[in-house]
Subunit: 143 residues, 2 copies
DNA sequence: CGCAGAATATGATAAAAATCACATTTCGGA
DNA sequence: TCCGAAATGTGATTTTTATCATATTCTGCG
């Protein structure tokens, strides 16, 4: 469903959304151990996220990565699409082609609904909304 | 969610359930192109399934793989557990640990329910039940 | 300006998943 | 009994994913 990389990326984005802003940046080395992701692997992921506008960054002294107000208004699905590509999430449970309700595979009824429900949630939920739950203690950002 | 191997295995099991029985066996070379799975890869998967009692086989001339009446009464989850291991399906969406409703991660509410719904279905649906839908044309076994 | 601190770019290595190839064992039938 | 047809066992190769390492570019500050 989600690749390991996508999980890492989501954790990183959420961590940035919780702990940074334009005036309060963080470097990879300050983050990786907090979310339990290998340092240089995380660096690569964050570069990709940054290049695709999911998170922000600035170089040089006083620089680092951060989540801008614009960034945290993005829907979660943007994060996983940048990392995993567009079709992985929408692929059929049995075959390689896209999941297709017009031509449901044998497993489609057992999972298709659940999956499209998940996708819909990812599309409709923004990063900002999600960290609300974490802040209020309703959910947790796991190691 | 499901590995490629698990998808292949499910397709193979369903194909056997649809087209074989004790008196009507099939060899890998008769199957692989019908379900679009590399021949020798499929052979390995079917050995594993056979060794774990998910499907049946007999050697020698007139031999082959088949799905017995016992086999098709198994729940679908047995197939994926044999191929993917027990925990993959139940792992948290954000971390490596098991999904845990007591300690929900930030994504849990968005997906946890959908996922446990899927698992429950895999546990409660037998192979036999599933091929009913295929036979009646309600769903399809895709390439 | 120039230096150090940071992201960025590039590519090498390691591990896991997918795929392929072949030797061995078992079994039915002539 | 023996031969060939089939699964089984073992391991090698390829591809993808995950991880590590290093060189390069940009930028604020003194
Ligand atoms: S068509 Fe296979 S999961 Fe939807
Ligand atoms: S705890 Fe993360 S998906 Fe359930």
């Amino acid at each position: 469903m989600l690749s390991n990389s996508a999980k890492y990326a989501l954790k990183a984005v959420l961590y940035l959304a919780l702990h940074t802003n334009e005036d309060n940046k963080l470097m990879v080395k300050d983050i990786y151990s907090r979310i339990n992701v290998p340092q240089s692997y995380l660096a690569k992921l964050m570069q990709k996220l940054s290049k695709n506008g999911i998170i922000s960054s600035s170089r040089g002294p006083k620089g680092g990565f951060y989540a801008s107000n614009q960034n945290i208004d993005l829907p979660l699905i943007r994060v996983v699409e940048v990392i995993d590509g567009e079709q992985r999430l929408r692929s059929c449970m049995l075959s390689i082609h896209e999941c297709d309700s017009e031509n449901p595979c044998a497993l489609h009824d057992l999972v298709g609904n659940a999956n499209s429900f998940f996708i819909k949630n990812l599309e409709e939920t923004t990063i900002k909304q999600l960290i609300g739950d974490v802040k209020s203690g309703k959910s947790v950002l796991p190691l």
